[in-house]
């Protein structure tokens, strides 16, 4: 199994033989089936969901899942991924035998993440990594399980499904204010962190730098996944970025509203500051709400715009790595043909799904219906990511990860980058929302 996330040289037969293309086809198949299910109502196409437990309503985890629904989800996923593997020439029977165990581990991660407190703070990504790491560092990942340890396959398929949720039309929701706060700052922070990580800290793994930079400046875990796949990052790079993002998000979610209220900052500026800097979207909405309804609304709008930017940024990262980073410094400039060869093709599916949903589906069926449809595809996306994180854990060991720590450089990259992000976002939020340049927006909440 490759340690790297992505694809190689292109031939027309790649369309049915390569993983990147199959991620696109599978994403498309799921979207089409979901659309048929929704429009005809002839059958249900919901992925199994684990209910929150540890509450009065569902006290034990035993009441949090439905076995029949889980089995159906597993069968559907086995069938879908097997179709691609048949064309890719892989051993499908071995995959089919091992896959239920990966699914079981993902289910355990989902159940752990659905515990009332855990669900609100760390959810499935953390637990999926933990479950995988626990297996690989204790009993070791058995050889018979490896045919189903297909991190890239699951991640890429999940990302194509996530593309549908990247509704580009939402970029306009907060007018020039949102564009300024979310889009002016984000690339500057990425460039700053890239320079700091590669030139000052001299980190050896450039994909790790871009993954941490994207997670910090865009929206944490989801941005890290997209950036990792686009930059062909190693799995450990993604693990570090997610770990750092998860820990610091909890702190920022609690600390920022306290600080903003303590210094008497305007809730609109404070909300925009939170929206532009706190990584996870859920944390942003909560931290914003702690400032009041206006702060909450501004924080949510700014963050949603950043969420939508993932598509553009993932595309730019893929082109940047194909044309600049992977290129020999003293070699000739890279032609369009070579760029195409190096370009991770599934990104086309990710962007394509975003464009189709933004400019065809949403205008055609309306925002409400689009969201119902996304509710169906989102469940499958979640399982793809959860299984991918389990597989990352299964392929990682603490010894190798310790070598990547590089004297704490990833940590300092995150801290310095996030500090820069905090200062710049506050400055831009103040400039745009305090009436200095544009009139102060009137937002009804």
């Amino acid at each position: 199994m490759s340690d790297v996330v992505t694809a190689s040289k292109f031939k027309w037969s790649d369309l049915i033989k390569k993983e990147d293309w199959w991620a696109i086809w599978l994403g498309l198949i799921v979207i089409i089936i979901a659309a048929i299910s929704k429009s005809t109502g002839a059958f249900k196409f919901n992925a199994s969901k684990i209910a929150t437990w540890g509450t009065e309503k569902v006290p034990s985890f035993l009441g949090s899942f439905d076995i029949a629904s889980l089995l159906i989800t597993m069968v559907v996923l086995t069938a879908l991924f097997s179709i691609g593997l048949v064309f890719m020439g892989e051993n499908v029977p071995k995959f089919a035998i091992a896959f239920p165990v990966i699914f079981l581990l993902a289910t355990i991660a989902y159940i752990l993440g659905a515990q009332a407190t855990m669900k609100k703070y760390v959810e499935y990504a953390f637990w999926a990594l933990a479950v995988g790491l626990l297996v690989s560092n204790t009993v070791k990942t058995p050889d018979w399980l490896k045919p189903a340890v297909k991190t890239e396959y699951y991640i890429k398929t999940g990302l194509v499904l996530m593309g549908a949720e990247v509704l580009f039309s939402n970029v306009v929701k907060f007018g020039i204010y949102g564009l300024g706060i979310a889009w002016f700052v984000t690339p500057i922070v990425i460039i700053f962190m890239w320079h700091y990580g590669t030139k000052i800290l001299k980190m050896t793994s450039k994909p790790m730098v871009i993954v941490i930079a994207t997670a910090t400046s865009v929206c944490g875990v989801s941005a890290a996944i997209a950036a990792a796949a686009a930059s062909k990052a190693k799995k450990d790079d993604l693990t570090f970025a997610i770990g750092l993002s998860l820990i610091f998000t909890v702190l920022m979610m609690v600390g920022m509203p306290i600080f903003i209220k303590a210094i008497g900052m305007d809730p609109m500026v404070g909300g925009a500051w939170i929206g532009g800097t706190v990584d996870a979207t859920g944390a942003v909405v909560l931290a914003g709400e702690a400032l009041g309804p206006l702060g909450g609304q501004v924080a949510a709008l700014v963050k949603m715009i950043q969420n939508v930017l993932i598509g553009v940024i993932a595309f730019a990262i893929a082109v940047f790595f194909a044309t600049k980073v992977e290129k020999d410094v003293d070699g000739p400039s890279v032609g369009a043909d070579e760029i195409w060869h190096r370009f991770p093709k599934f990104i086309l599916g990710f962007i394509g799904a975003s464009l189709i949903f933004s400019f065809i589906v949403e205008p055609a069926i309306g925002a409400k219906e689009t969201k119902t449809l996304l509710g169906l595809t989102g469940g499958w996306k979640g399982w793809c990511f959860c299984m991918a994180f389990v597989c990352i854990g299964l392929e990682s060991n603490f010894k190798e990860m310790a070598e990547l720590v590089q004297g704490g450089k990833p940590l300092w990259l995150y801290i310095v980058g996030q500090s820069f992000n905090l200062v710049l976002t506050l400055l831009v939020a103040w400039l745009l929302l305090s009436g200095v340049i544009f009139p102060i927006p009137v937002l009804t909440v």
């Binding site: 929150t52 407190t117 855990m118 609100k120 703070y121 760390v122 959810e123 990504a125 996530m162 949720e165 970029v171 306009v172 929701k173 907060f174 007018g175 020039i176 564009l179 002016f184 990425i190 460039i191 929206c219 875990v221 989801s222 820990i247 610091f248 909890v250 702190l251 979610m253 609690v254 990584d279 996870a280 979207t281 859920g282 944390a283 909405v285 909560l286 702690a290 949510a300 709008l301 949603m304 969420n307 553009v312 730019a316 082109v319 940047f320 600049k324 410094v329 969201k371 996304l374 989102g378 004297g407 704490g408 940590l411 300092w412 544009f438 009139p439 927006p441 937002l443 009804t444 909440v445």
Partner: protein
């Protein structure tokens, strides 16, 4: 010189461990005590993407749009792509410099 570098690296390692341990302890304390959560809102940092949030339609949509600048879509999206392109060219230039 070599031993000085070793000491600096060692100090940096210790500092990194201390910072990370402190952050972890505070994060666990926050989670242990359910700090930062709001009653009635059934989500938190565990919901990473905006569509992960329960009821995200109500949170992000409705009559809450601000239209300043959006009535000139060419200008709006022109700025969007121009800024993205400029930043892309800049980071590419940085990377091509030895």
């Amino acid at each position: 010189m070599g031993s000085q570098k070793f000491l600096t690296t060692r100090r940096l390692n210790i500092l990194s461990i201390l910072v990370l341990a402190s952050v972890l302890i505070v994060a666990i304390y926050i989670m242990r005590n359910n700090i930062g959560l709001i009653e009635g809102l059934d989500f938190g940092p565990g919901q990473y993407y905006y569509t992960d949030l329960p009821g995200w339609e109500e949170i992000f949509f409705g009559e809450k749009s601000i239209t300043l600048g959006t009535k000139q879509p060419f200008l709006f999206f022109g700025l969007f792509f121009l800024w993205g392109y400029a930043c892309f060219k800049f980071i590419s230039w940085m990377e091509s410099k030895k």
